[in-house]
């Protein structure tokens, strides 16, 4: 195909948007709403996932050592623990530190501590954070086999709840995003088909005068691509406004932020580039593909 033909077909595609402005506007709106819905669903999932991740990172397993563990054994146990897989961090917490912390926490019960005299009933411990909480049971079994450990305290139920919550949410959000993508594809396809149907006579005439399928399809393709690109721009703008508004509201909710964790929210700045690229390329691609596939029926007729 010559450059002049490509230029002509591109011009035709652009002109067609204006000539068929009602149908173009309908396609634009459908694509815009679909992209916004899918985009916001993905963002919601990212945030929920980030929140769960934040809560997960606060998990703490406490490994209590036998009473009066000497330095040599302590080093040995620490070495084994550090070499275990799935350990994010490990801190030693001496029985003196533990006693002091307990005393501070229970300052109203001085009598109780006085009765103990110089005796410290607490033991040394390691405070451990687990990398992947879904593997917590396995890691704890490995810890239990270490000689010199008295007891292990782990938030089993909480971890189990978080793991289940993440699994359920992942499935629900994936299903939701797929459902929205399918619904969007069907609506876009039908809108484009209606647009193409209204121009079937034009396509027929093109066929009679010897137009190749590519020649007929290119203007529709360009039309769909441009409409999709602008729908992507619009969707990006709407998503940004909605997202920023929601973020501003959340930032003023101190209590809520304490629960979900200040740093767990994904800011728009963090995802600006992938979001922009996904919306613009996604919009252009869906628009172009929708138009190209919808012309098939009339081209082959």
């Amino acid at each position: 195909m010559k450059f002049s033909s490509i230029r002509y077909l591109t011009e035709q595609g652009v002109e067609n948007i204006w000539k068929n402005r009602m149908m173009s506007f309908a396609s634009f709106c459908v694509l815009l709403v679909s992209l916004v819905l899918v985009g916001i669903s993905i963002l919601a999932w990212q945030n929920v996932s980030s929140m769960i991740g934040n809560v997960e990172s606060k998990n703490e397993v406490i490994v209590y050592l036998n009473d009066n563990t000497d330095q040599e054994n302590l080093n040995r146990i620490e070495g084994i623990l550090r070499n275990l897989p799935n350990i994010a961090s490990l801190d030693f917490y001496s029985k003196e530190e533990a006693y002091l912390a307990l005393k501070n926490r229970m300052s109203d019960y001085d009598v109780l501590f006085e009765s103990l005299g110089d005796d410290n009933p607490l033991v040394d411990s390691f405070r451990i954070q687990i990398e992947d909480i879904s593997q917590m049971s396995k890691t704890i079994s490995q810890m239990e086999s270490i000689d010199g450990i008295m007891n292990i305290s782990a938030p089993y139920e909480f971890v189990s709840f978080l793991t289940q919550l993440r699994t359920v949410l992942t499935w629900v959000m994936t299903a939701l995003i797929f459902a929205m993508l399918i619904v969007s594809a069907v609506i876009i396809s039908n809108t484009t088909k209606t647009s193409v149907y209204s121009r079937r006579e034009e396509i027929r005439i093109m066929k009679y005068v010897g137009a190749t399928n590519a020649f007929i399809r290119v203007p529709f393709f360009i039309e769909g691509m441009i409409t999709g690109f602008f729908a992507g721009c619009g969707a990006l703008l709407i998503t940004w406004l909605v997202y920023d508004t929601v973020m501003n509201i959340l930032e003023n909710q101190a209590t809520l932020l304490n629960i979900i964790g200040v740093g767990s929210l994904v800011t728009f700045q963090q995802i600006y580039l992938p979001m922009t690229l996904s919306y613009l390329f996604g919009g252009a691609l869906i628009g172009a593909a929708g138009s190209a596939f919808s012309t098939e029926k009339y081209i082959d007729a």
Binding site: K19, M206, Y208, V209, G210
Partner: protein, 228 residues
């Protein structure tokens, strides 16, 4: 050149649209194809444009063997044929100029050629003043002349006119046939399908009558115009 050898077309509903038809229209001929509604005229046009396939028989159009023609070769065949319809079939969103130029753009013609050729054919059909008009701003006769210009612009070997006078006044009909005759005089093969016997009687020439899917007669007759 158009050649049909023992061609039959049977539709899926069992109707025999064409029944063992043999026909030859040589390069430079002008032929009227007449017949009642449902006689098989439209089927003949569809066959020549490779819109449908023959059930049996052999068809050659402008050197293309239609029986063995691949789908991707159909555009090349159609570029050798100009077609004019009763209902004009112009693209309403395009100007007269663009409706005609469009055919050349389809064939990847160079822009300078388009700029030279389109005004030439517009002048040939007497529409040079209407270049920027849209189809709905034209009369029936003018629209048909645009359709003829569009069919001619690519310099086709064969021009098929399917009831080109069906939607216009009788006086304008004569003008259209005269225009087609003058195009034929310049070497283009013309096949005009019509059911207007008066028109055929007046102009005369080769007349192919299709009745019930068969060639009832294929004769050359003198026109009443010639008698006058």
């Amino acid at each position: 050149m158009v050649e049909l050898k023992d061609v039959s077309v049977k539709y899926s509903n069992g109707v025999d649209a064409l029944d063992h038809v043999s026909l030859k229209i040589n390069d430079g001929d002008f032929a009227f194809v007449v017949g009642a509604s449902g006689a098989g005229k439209s089927t003949l046009i569809k066959l020549l444009l490779k819109e449908i396939d023959a059930t049996s028989g052999k068809i050659i159009v402008n050197g293309y063997q239609l029986n063995t023609l691949k789908k991707k070769e159909i555009p090349a065949l159609r570029r050798t044929i100009g077609i004019v319809f009763q209902d004009f079939r112009l693209i309403s969103s395009m100007t007269v100029y663009d409706n005609i130029a469009f055919v050349l753009r389809v064939t990847d013609a160079p822009v300078p050629h388009i700029k030279k050729r389109v005004p030439y054919v517009m002048n040939l059909v007497g529409l040079q003043e209407k270049a920027k008009s849209y189809p709905d701003e034209l009369s029936g006769g003018e629209m048909q002349r645009v359709a003829i210009a569009r069919a001619l612009v690519n310099d086709p070997q064969l021009l098929i006119a399917d009831e080109p006078t069906g939607n216009i006044d009788p006086e304008l009909s004569y003008e259209i046939v005269e225009l087609l005759k003058s195009i034929n005089m310049q070497g283009t093969t013309v096949m005009m399908v019509t059911h207007e016997h008066e028109l055929v009687r007046r102009f005369g020439g080769r007349i192919i009558n299709i009745t019930a899917g068969q060639i009832a007669f294929d004769e050359i007759m003198e026109g009443t115009d010639n008698e006058i």
